[in-house]
Amino acid sequence: MAKALNEALRHSLAEDPRALVLGEDIGKLGGVFRVTEGLQDEFGSARVFDTPLAEAAIAGVSLGLALAGWHPVAEMQFDGFSYPALDQIISHIAKYRYRSRGRQTVPLVIRIPFAGGIGAAEHHSESPEAYYAHTAGLKVVIPASPIDAYGLLRHSIADPDPVIFLEPKSRYWSKEEGSLEAGADGSLPIGKARVVREGSDCTIVTYGAMVARSLAAASRASADGVEVEVLDLRSLVPLDLESLVGSVSRTGRAVVVHEAPLTAGFGAEVVARIVEDCFDYLEAPVLRVTGYDTPYPPATIESHYVPSVQRILAAVDRVTNY
C-alpha cells in the first residue's frame, strides 16, 4: 500500500502542476513510512518540502497555500500527533468555503497514518476518524487495500474540498495483485462504498485495516455455511447510504467493525443509519465490534483491544442465530 500511495502522489504531482507535498521528514527521508520516497528528487524541493516540527502550522500554512491556488497534500507524521492541528482543521479548514460563501475554497489533503496493530509506542496507534467525521465541511477517506488506496488518494487530491485521508499503517506493507492504472480507471470515487465480498446471511460494515480482518472472519464463517457480505465504506464522509442500505436490506443482519473505541465511534453513526433506513428488513439487532473505551493499550496487549477474528465471528454468530 505504501508503494501505491507513493505512486498516487507521484502521478498527481506530475499531472497537477499545483499539487504540493509537505510535512515532517517527507522530503529527503521520503517519510517515516517511505510513502513520499523519491518525490523530492523527482519534483524538486519547491513542490516537495520538509517543514519545521509544527503540526498546527502544517495545517494552517496548507490552508494559506490553498487560498493562494495550490493543492497541498500535507502529512501528519502519526495519528497521535495530528491533534495540535485540530484547531486549524476544525476552526478554519472545514469552514472556509462556508464562511466565504464559496469564494475561497480549500482543495487540500491531510494524510494521516492511523490505527494500531503495529506494536508501536503510545500515541502511534490512534483512531481519530470520528473527530473529523463529526466536523462538517471535511471529507474523511480511508483506504483498505493498495490499489484502492491509489485511486482514493488520487481522487482526494483532485477533490475541491478538504479531505482527511487516513492511512491504516498496519496495511502499509500489504500487497495486492493487479495494475494501478487499471485499478484507477475502475476505481470508485469518494463517497462510494464497495462490496469486497458478497454474502447473503449477514453484512459486515467496516473500513481500513478491519476490512482484511473481516474478510478473514467471513472466510471462516463460510466454512460453517454462513455467507458473510463485507462492505468496505471507503469514505466515512460522504457516506454511501445507498450501498449500505442496499446490502443490509438484502441480508437483514449487520455487524459494524472498527478499531476506534466504542462510545461515539463512527460505528454508532452507521448503526443509526441502518436502523433508520433498514428497520423493516432487520432480522436481528445491529452489533458493533470495536476497540474498548480505553486509551489504546500498550502493544504487548493490543491484540486484546483490536477486534479479532474471534470477536467478529462471535458477533456474526449472534446475529445469524437471533
Binding site: 502550522a57 494559506g64 493562494a68 460563501r101 462538517a136
Partner: protein, 351 residues
C-alpha cells in the same frame, strides 16, 4: 514622526507621499472613526449582536494598510474595520459578521484581497504565511500582511508562523497592534520580552513604532513590505497604541482599568495629532476638514441604513457551502430543514 505637541514634525515632502495622499490618510482615519462609533451605537440599539471597537487604533490600521500595494493580501483578526475601509470593503457587508448574518460577512475577500474575520486568536497568522509561501512559489511579487494583537503573541500559532516564514523566506509582514490589553490582561502580564524583540528569536527584524502616529506606521510598513517583497525577509512590527474602548460591546473595561489611564490615552488621539500637523504644514485647511466631516456624516448614515435594512439569509444557505456538491446525507437534512421552515412560514411563525 508626528510630534505629540510643540514641534512641527517632518517635512511633508520628505515622506514619499503626495499631498493628496497625506490628506487621504486623514480622511480614511476620519471615516473609520465615525464608522466605528456608529457600529458601537448600532450594537447598543440592538442592530448588531456584538462589536469590538477599534477607537484609538485608527492610525495603526490606516497607516499600515495604506502602505501596501493593491495586489498585497491582508489577513485580519477581528478588529480591523479600519483596514477594511482602506481596502474599500463595503462595511455593511463587513458588519454582516457582527450582525450574525454570515460568519465571514458577505463581502468577497478576493475582490479586496482582504480576508475574513478570524476569531481564534493568532490562527490567521498561519494562513498569511501559507499564502505568502504560495505566492512566492508562483514567483508572484506580493506581500502578505497579517494583523494580530499583543495577546496573540502568546499563542503557538504566532511562533509557528514566524518560524515558518523565516525558514521559507516568505514575504510576510507580521503587524502587531499592541493596544495594551488582551481583554482584561495588560501586556505586562502577557509577555516578558518586548513584542518587537521576539522577532530576533526567529531571525528576522522586529521594529517598534508609535502606533498612534499614522506617518510613522506608514513608513515602517512600507519598509517592511519592501523587505518582504524584495528580499523574502519577514518583519515583525509592533505598533504601540491603545484600545480606548472595551474589548467588545460585551465587555466592561471599568472592571480592570482606570478612567485616568483611558483619559490619558484619549489625550494622544491619533486623529487630533495628525490633523494638527496637516493644518500646521498647510497640507490641509479648515474647508478640507469640514468637507471630510460632512462626508463622515453621510458615510455613517448610509452605514446605519444599510445595516438596519439587512435581513437574515435564507435557510437554504445553511447547507449551500459545506462542500462543493451536496452529498446525499446532507441533501436529506436540507430537505427536512426547508420543509420545517416553509411550514413555519405558513403558520406565520418565527420567520
Amino acid at each position: 514622526m508626528l510630534p505629540l505637541e510643540g514641534s512641527a514634525g517632518p517635512d511633508p515632502t520628505s515622506l514619499g507621499l503626495k499631498e493628496e495622499e497625506l490628506r487621504e490618510l486623514y480622511r480614511l482615519m476620519a471615516l473609520t472613526r465615525r464608522a466605528d462609533l456608529e457600529a458601537t451605537a448600532l450594537q447598543r440599539q440592538g442592530e448588531l449582536a456584538v462589536y469590538p471597537p477599534l477607537i484609538g487604533q485608527e492610525a495603526a490600521q490606516i497607516g499600515s494598510a495604506f502602505a501596501l500595494e493593491e495586489s498585497d493580501w491582508i489577513f485580519p483578526s477581528y478588529r480591523e474595520l479600519g483596514s477594511a475601509v482602506v481596502r474599500g470593503v463595503d462595511l455593511v457587508e463587513y458588519l454582516a459578521f457582527y450582525r450574525a448574518t454570515w460568519h465571514g460577512g458577505t463581502y468577497d475577500a478576493n475582490a479586496h484581497r482582504f480576508g475574513y474575520v478570524s476569531v481564534p486568536v493568532a490562527s490567521q497568522i498561519l494562513h498569511a504565511v501559507g499564502y505568502a509561501m504560495g505566492a512566492k512559489l508562483d514567483g508572484i511579487s506580493l506581500v502578505s500582511l497579517v494583523y494580530f494583537g499583543d495577546g496573540a503573541t502568546s499563542e503557538g500559532d504566532f511562533h509557528e508562523g514566524c518560524n515558518f516564514a523565516a525558514v521559507f523566506e516568505a514575504p510576510v509582514v507580521f503587524f502587531c497592534q499592541n493596544n495594551q490589553w488582551a481583554i482584561s490582561v495588560p501586556v505586562a502580564a502577557q509577555t516578558v520580552a518586548p513584542i518587537w524583540r521576539k522577532a530576533q528569536a526567529y531571525g528576522f527584524p522586529g521594529v517598534q513604532v508609535d502606533g498612534n502616529d499614522v506617518l510613522a506606521v506608514y513608513q515602517a510598513t512600507r519598509e517592511a513590505a519592501a523587505r518582504a517583497r524584495d528580499e523574502g525577509t519577514p518583519t515583525l512590527i509592533e505598533a504601540v497604541t491603545y484600545r480606548i474602548g472595551p474589548h467588545s460591546t460585551a465587555d466592561d473595561a471599568t472592571r480592570y482599568r482606570t478612567a485616568d489611564e483611558v483619559e490619558a490615552w484619549r489625550g494622544l488621539d491619533p486623529l487630533d495629532r495628525y490633523r494638527r500637523w496637516l493644518a500646521g504644514t498647510g497640507v490641509a485647511d479648515d474647508s478640507y476638514f469640514e468637507a471630510v466631516e460632512g462626508e463622515t456624516r453621510d458615510f455613517a448614515a448610509r452605514l446605519r441604513a444599510g445595516v438596519i435594512a439587512s435581513e437574515p439569509r435564507p435557510v437554504e444557505e445553511m447547507f449551500e457551502w459545506v462542500f462543493a456538491d451536496i452529498p446525499p446525507h446532507l441533501a436529506r437534512q436540507r430537505e427536512e430543514a426547508l420543509r420545517l421552515a416553509s411550514e413555519d412560514r405558513k403558520d406565520g411563525g418565527r420567520g
